[in-house]
Amino acid sequence: MSGSGPLHPIERDILKSLAEAGLIPIETLAASTHLDIDQVRRGVEWLKFKGMISVEESSSFVVLLTQRGQGAATSGLPERKLVGAIKGGNDTVEKVRQSGLLNNDEVNAAVSAARRNKWIQFSDGGRMSLSGAESPSPEELILQKLRNGSLDLSALVEEEMRAVELLKKRPDYIILKEAKQTRISITPAGKDALKNLDEGHVERKLTTEMITSGRWREITLGPLDVEAPAPAVYPGRSHPLVNIIDEVKEIFVGLGFEEIDGDMVQSGFWNFDALFIPQDHPAREMQDTFYVSGQTQNIPATKDQLRRVAGVQDRGWGRGWKLAEAERMVLRTHTTPVTLRKLAATKPDVARFFSVGRVFRNEKPSYKHLVEFNQVEGVATAPGLSLRDLMGLQKEFYAKMGIKKVKFWPTFFPYTEPSLQSMVYNESLHKWVELFGMGIFRPEVTRPLGIRNPVLAWGGGVERIAMLRFGLDDVRELYGNRLSWLRGVPRCQL
């Protein structure tokens, strides 16, 4: 019985009914338990599985009356009607026909049946006389028996069987049908289970009253089906992408970086000009960058900063730098203006900052590209920091994300020199994928803002990391807010 679990109330009722009953049909069981037949069937299945009852399935033929047979059982078979007609003086077949007491097509059958029963005798001139017609024929007897319901063929005696055979030959009085029967009896295991149940007073639910009154001492709490599944519930939770961002933040903090945050709408000055990006650079065109319509603002920079950046722009890209262009407000295309403003404001000798936030690109959204996504960025400044240090910080960062294989390729960004991109090996995709871009801020960026030491900087999209982690192939899924995904995606990716 071990492992079969506690009893369901239905199971308990069935076992109780069977305890004294022997082998009984399932219908009888339903009646005695006051359960409906479907509940009983279910309970029987469970108990059979647990070995507490045994179930016998048998099939047999039953005989039952048709509508015509029912009629005959009430008003008599044709030969009985014939006897009546003869008694009434219709002593020839002809007279019987004329009497209308029998249907025309019954007459012949009635005559031959009456002769078989030896009820009538023919004399000269076709006259019929009766003898011994008072006692019912075997066919009549079985007909009467069938009036109360079907009969199991196996329960019939030989004579009755013959009568059934005869009735079968007549058109449409009886039908034979195969019937399945389920009979149930209790097993020793079932009796044991019942015995266990009966010990003490079993309660289903523990109540406050039981606890405080001390009645809990007198009762037994019935076991529950602890192995049955429970209904699904969903926890509240932070967004999976936010979890990845948190993870990234933790790594930065562990590497000695302090988090900074800033505006998403920035002046062209901080987003582009201060980063040595010429005013006619293609990236500054409306096709790639979002400008807020009609919005120009005073640049949050000192006169000195404005003058020096303007000077560097003019020297680097030819005269013609325009303040008006720098004042146009853009949805930041990277988080670097936030970092740069922090560095320009604090001019630290030694510092490590990071930020994570939304950046914008005027693209058509696709499975690969979002218009708005999260960029993570780190900067480190200290005397003598080098390209190799930058590579070392990357390796350490990736190692903490569980990425072991990293390689670096040279690339280009307008505001860093040298510039590298990192390629990391994705173990599940079995290929190298591009991750963060990085470099050392150009002197044209740092000098006008009074930043003295080398500034290592790197950054990239967080969504790309999330896609790899969650196995997504459409980046839009991260912002689709489908509850089926949000409720199901594991908080910890094992």
């Binding site: 936010v242 302090e258 998403m264 959204p365 003598g384 080098s386």
Partner: protein, 552 residues
């Protein structure tokens, strides 16, 4: 990024005795991305700072250096003066003042070379040329030109046969009726005169930057070329001409100068003198984190196709004119690193001298997430840049003051949101077939105009199910303010376009209104195709914390 096609058939000739695999391995370490490889060749993406990579000649030049097949600055010996000249009239000064030119002789224009030159012309037009505004290129058959040429400006009834046509058209017609005319005509409109380059016999070479004349067209039989670059920017035009000169030299042409005569001023173009950049060996080493001797540094530079000499502790690097990307010692440092091989640089980890820390905002927001998560709410993420339809029309709100962006490529992203509630309802509307109750929250920036743009961090939450009510959401809101910020709140009845009239309130904390709470108006629910009641709140966290200096 622009792409160069390197045909397999050419690779074998240009880099003999080197396997294709070796070339593929080296390309990324020259800063080139491999975009595709097939039996016909390799497609390579190059960065816009290296316009000298705009042909396979340029790429091969760099790879041959990295493989040490050829070191130092490539040789380009200018032929002595060609004696040819271009006279520049004063009329053209206001329209498109700059012209520079060269002649190239004795090369062979194989089909693939022509393809490469055409692709280069296109890339240079779009890159340095800024879509032909700063500089544009005209290639001509030198032998069909009679010198001296005149670069002048004419009125739009001037007629000539443009490239690819068989009859004369006026400039007005060309600008109106041809594709390039419509595309580039605006670069020379503005005055009533148009730039024109004509020869001694008044044969038209070009109407820059729109189209060439047909008479000087270049074909496979062309042996000698005239290349002219016109523009509005002298430096860009010189850059373009220098890159073309180097490319044609690599293609086997001898390059000769052309004299540009403007009034009393005469200049010889192309001017290909290298620039000297002097860098401290110590500085170069410091950038890389290396300790290389002068000879090693010079060797690395030579692998990057740059000549250099040591002068004491300094390295003098001679930058050829076509390397337009090198202007500062730091650029030289990168060339040393590339010559050394990025793959040879061993990463070093600089230990932290500072303590790391998350921002106070991050900590506050984590607490908010924890609290709302504790109430069974799931965090959703919406976009700051959203649609007018979701943000305003669904709630029958006026979008008059909406902050919109210029030229968005999709209608889903056209305005900056001023509230998170529409985003939450949009998220709910995408989940109508999911199990209820649904409880969502979002943390995000909102944007407010009217003067300088003001950004604030908002928190919004919504509950959606058959029994969702004002009371339920108010309980959650009170709990959030109490557990996260130790604040009691007062609800003050107020109207809002988001909520049912009489079922919404202003949220007041410390005598300041910090948000709103209520049951969402049924019209909005219907617009969003939602079928259950929704109650929501939104608070402006910046307002609550700003005074304390906790959020910038």
């Amino acid at each position: 990024m622009p792409v160069v096609n390197m045909a397999s058939s050419r690779l074998g000739k240009l880099i003999p005795n080197v396997s294709r695999e070796k070339v593929l391995e080296m390309l990324p370490f020259a800063g080139l991305d491999i975009e595709g490889v097939d039996e016909h060749g390799i497609r390579v993406e190059y960065n816009p700072n290296r316009p000298d990579f705009s042909t396979d000649f340029g790429i091969v030049r760099a790879i041959r250096g990295l493989l040490e097949i050829e070191l130092g600055t490539p040789r380009l010996k200018l032929a002595k003066k060609s004696g040819h000249s271009i006279l520049v009239t004063s009329h053209v000064k206001k329209v498109r003042p700059v012209i520079v030119a060269l002649v190239a002789r004795g090369g062979r224009l194989e089909d693939e070379t022509i393809k490469q030159l055409i692709a280069m012309q296109e890339d240079l037009h779009n890159g340095i040329g800024r879509r032909r505004r700063k500089a544009s290129i005209g290639l001509h058959d030198l032998d069909s030109v009679s010198f001296p040429l005149t670069y002048t400006a004419v009125s739009d009834d001037y007629a000539f046969t443009p490239l690819g046509e068989s009859f004369h058209q006026t400039i007005a017609q060309i600008l109106r009726e041809t594709e390039t005319g419509r595309q580039y005509g605006n670069l020379v409109r503005g005055s009533d005169r148009y730039p024109l380059l004509i020869d001694k016999n008044d044969t038209v070479l070009s109407l820059p930057p729109v189209i060439n004349g047909d008479s000087t067209r270049v074909g496979s039989k062309t042996r000698n070329l005239l290349v002219e670059v016109t523009g509005t920017d002298k430096k860009a035009s010189d850059d373009v001409l220098a890159i073309i000169a180097m490319t044609l030299a690599d293609a086997g042409f001898g390059i000769g100068t052309v004299t540009i005569v403007g009034g009393r001023k005469k200049i010889e173009t192309p001017a290909l003198e290298p620039t000297e950049i002097v860098a401290d060996a110590k500085y170069l080493n410091q950038v890389m984190g290396m300790d290389l001797g002068s000879n090693q540094i010079i060797r690395c530079l030579r692998k990057s196709r740059l000549d250099a000499v040591a002068r004491g502790n300094r390295i003098v690097c001679m930058v050829p004119r076509y390397r337009t990307d090198i202007s500062h010692p730091v650029d030289v440092a990168e060339e040393v690193a590339l010559g050394y091989g990025i793959y040879n640089l061993k990463p070093t980890f600089p230990p932290a001298a500072t303590a790391g820390q998350k921002s106070l905002l991050t900590n506050h927001l984590s607490a908010v997430r924890e609290t709302l998560g504790g109430h069974g709410m799931i965090e959703s993420l919406g976009f700051s840049l959203t649609s007018r339809q979701i943000q305003y029309e669904s709630f029958d709100r006026s979008s008059e003051n909406a902050l919109q962006v210029e030229g968005p490529k999709s209608a889903e992203h056209q305005i900056l949101r001023d509230s998170l509630i529409p985003s939450l309802l949009f998220a709910l509307s995408r989940n109508v077939h999911e199990e209820y109750p649904q409880r969502l929250f979002e943390i995000g920036k909102t944007f407010h105009g009217g003067g300088d743009i003001h950004e604030s961090w908002n928190i919004a939450a919504a509950v959606a199910h058959v029994d969702a009510s004002y009371t339920e959401i108010l309980s959650i809101l009170q709990s959030l303010l109490r557990s996260c910020f130790g604040k009691a709140m007062k609800a003050k009845a107020a109207q809002s376009p988001f909520f049912i009239s009489g079922r919404s309130a202003e949220i007041v904390v410390d005598e300041t209104s910090v948000g709103a709470v209520g049951e969402i108006a049924p019209a909005a629910l219907a617009n969003m195709k939602l079928r259950v009641p929704v109650a929501a709140f939104e608070i402006d966290l910046s307002k609550m914390l700003h005074d304390k200096g906790q959020i910038a």
